[in-house]
């Protein structure tokens, strides 16, 4: 299928988050053929799972909608979901890429009516909600999913549930026999926009994530705050479902730490500052309190305004200290131990919920990248030595959305130049 369309004048974009979508669109809107591959069943990446965006506190759906509309309206972008890159061979202007497409078990006929989900009994931890709730094993990844098509979880294939789903579908979209495919394509340039993943918080032993129920990550907190999320936007703590009122945010959880991630993840200070405003919003009577424990707040350039506004907010206090350890009380409350370095005051502070501002590590860390790829000491992708492959967005550096799209646009421009050079040499020859 794709094999005959893609040529060495095609740009391959790996990863369908905000950066991948941006890079694909920029190249396509300049007239280039683009293949955009995403390993999950939907485009959108991590940003789709945020409740609001700093600095304007708008909802991510807005930006997502604009980009999806551009993609739908552009015939030069071909989107392949549930697809991963297995191998890259060749060189700048002439790469051969092997793609592996996992079976979705639902074809283009799907109208997203949801009848299959109703028919299926099995439930799986909802990947979109970081497992904070379950979803049926036949599911639409989220409301804004693209393509708007259901997925059957592989765990029900071969069970009665799969049969039930197939029987329930009126348009014949379910295909339990769908098998994995491998496709080889020819492309001229590759943009790696594989994004980031949260640092595994369980490795930060003194903070007790995984042992103490009311210690959660900043990503989970985004879902708690979202009215469409698992708690309907109420900040309910996991241990007993009580509304959290006295919330601690711990900065640099796993970042700027030689024992964990060496780099500053750059966005987590802003993310916590933003999340204090969720607390404020969730407690209209003013009973919600946020305390940010930090080494130093890194709100870069124009974000300084945002920081200053949060500083003025009486519901937010700041403690200059890297928390040494957390202990759990009997009621599920948590006691934070440390020393406030402004004045060297020792504290043992009680909170009912702790949010770890976990660091960002490159999603590509741990997966095998083509040998030619150069990464920095933290595993972020700089590009390939032959200058035909580029990193974009959070795959290249821990970036916020604004900077990620800038980086993606830059990568698209470089890819376009590669295609132009390829075309020029071929015409000359």
């Amino acid at each position: 299928m794709t094999g005959n369309i893609a040529t060495n004048r095609t740009v391959l974009v790996v990863g369908g988050g905000i950066s991948g979508m941006t890079a694909a669109l920029e190249a396509a809107e300049c007239g280039k053929e683009v293949i955009l591959v995403e390993k999950l069943p939907t485009l959108g990446g991590r940003t789709a799972r945020l409740y609001r965006y700093f600095p304007k506190m708008c909802h991510p759906t807005c930006g997502l909608e604009i980009n999806l509309r551009r993609i739908k309206g552009n015939r030069k972008v071909q989107v392949l979901t549930m697809t991963e890159v297995v191998a890259v061979q060749g060189r700048r202007g002439d790469y051969r890429v092997s793609l592996r497409i996992a079976p979705r078990h639902v074809n283009e006929n799907c109208t997203a009516c949801g009848d299959c989900a109703k028919a299926v009994d099995a439930e799986i931890p909802d990947p979109f909600e970081y497992g904070l709730k379950t979803t049926k094993a036949a599911y639409l990844p989220h409301a804004m999913a693209y393509p708007q098509r259901y997925v059957l979880d592989p765990s029900i294939i071969g069970t009665a549930d799969a049969e039930k789903a197939q029987a329930a579908c009126k348009v014949g979209a379910i295909d339990v026999a769908m098998a994995e495919e491998t496709v080889d394509i020819n492309v001229g340039a590759v943009i790696w926009a594989t994004g980031w993943k949260p640092y595994d918080a369980e490795k930060i032993q003194p903070y007790g994530y995984g042992r103490f129920k009311n210690v959660i990550t900043s990503l989970e907190f985004e879902r708690l705050a979202d009215p469409a999320g698992p708690t309907g936007g109420k900040l309910l703590r996991p241990s007993d479902g009580k509304e959290a009122r006295n919330i601690a945010f711990i900065q640099c959880a796993g970042s700027r730490d030689e024992n964990h991630l060496r780099h500053c993840s750059r966005i987590c200070c802003m993310a916590s500052l933003k999340q204090t405003q969720y607390v404020r919003e969730a407690c209209p009577d003013g009973s919600g309190k946020s305390t940010i424990y930090y080494i130093d707040i890194r709100a870069i350039d124009r974000f300084e305004d945002f920081y200053q506004n949060v500083q003025k907010d009486p519901s937010v206090s700041f403690v200059k200290s890297k928390v040494a350890r957390i202990a759990e009380g009997e009621d599920g409350n948590l006691v934070l131990h440390g020393v406030n370095t402004e004045g060297y005051h020792r504290y043992a502070a009680d909170h009912d919920l702790v949010v770890l501002a976990v660091g960002m590590e490159p999603e590509a860390k741990g997966i095998r990248l083509p040998e030619d790829i150069v990464t920095d000491s933290s595993g972020f992708i700089e590009g390939s030595k032959d200058e035909g492959m580029f990193g974009a967005g959070a795959a290249a550096s821990p970036l916020d959305v604004n900077r990620a799209t800038q980086s993606a646009t830059a990568a698209a421009l470089r890819a376009i130049q590669v295609i132009h050079k390829t075309a020029a040499t071929e015409t000359a020859a």
Binding site: P206, D257, K320, A324, V339, R346
Partner: protein, 205 residues
């Protein structure tokens, strides 16, 4: 660069002095003042200067206050701070290095129990090349006088008898105890080591 016999030259720059003379002192400047070590120390509430504070004081040039502090002598080498320091400072080693340097300069607090015991231990060890545990224990018990020593001895009687029974304590050690064969050679080695160290630090032995 450090040259011999000129410690005074560095005194107005205490960080450099520490870097040159204290074990792992070159790592002091890597501290980012996050406070994790201060919060992690199990004895932290019992002394005035946490490692974090000491490192800031070094950079602020507070020579006198640092070297006369009892903080370094309170470190029990639990290694909690080292395990957690995000900058991987060998904090425990630096604390002991500072204690040693302050002692050699004669600035360490007088009568500080850990310091006294450390001196006693060193003298005990270097005498024969072997630690004489019986003499060390007795020395420690009787350091505050005969009465206090007898009282302590009676308190610890059970432990002592248990050790005797298990052949972990030899009463004959009181007569001098086991020692190295080439004692003179050993003393020469220790003296030479001190000479080298002092030369490096610009001290006269």
């Amino acid at each position: 660069m450090t040259t011999a016999n000129q410690p005074a030259a560095y005194r107005n720059d205490f960080l450099k002095e520490v870097e040159a003379n204290v074990e792992e002192g070159h790592m002091v400047k890597m501290c980012m003042q996050c406070g994790v070590c201060a919060g992690s120390c199990p004895l932290g509430s019992h002394w005035e200067h946490s490692p974090q504070k000491i490192f800031m004081m070094i950079r602020a040039g507070k020579r006198e206050e640092v070297l006369t502090s009892d903080a370094m002598w309170m470190c029990t080498s639990c290694y909690n701070c080292i395990a957690r320091c995000p900058r991987k400072l060998p904090i425990t080693h630096i604390m002991h290095g500072l204690a040693n340097y302050a002692h050699r300069l004669g600035l360490a607090p007088k009568g500080q129990p850990t310091r006294d015991f450390a001196v006693m231990f060193w003298n005990n060890l270097t005498k024969t090349g072997r630690v004489n545990e019986l003499k060390l224990t007795l020395g420690h018990y009787f350091k505050d006088g005969i009465g206090a020593g007898i009282k302590k001895g009676l308190e610890m009687k059970g432990v002592g008898l248990g050790l005797l029974k298990a052949k972990r304590l030899n009463p004959m050690e009181i007569l001098g105890g086991h020692k190295l064969q080439d004692l003179a050679g050993f003393h020469a080695i220790v003296a030479k080591a001190r000479e080298i160290e002092d030369r490096r630090r610009g001290l006269s032995s």
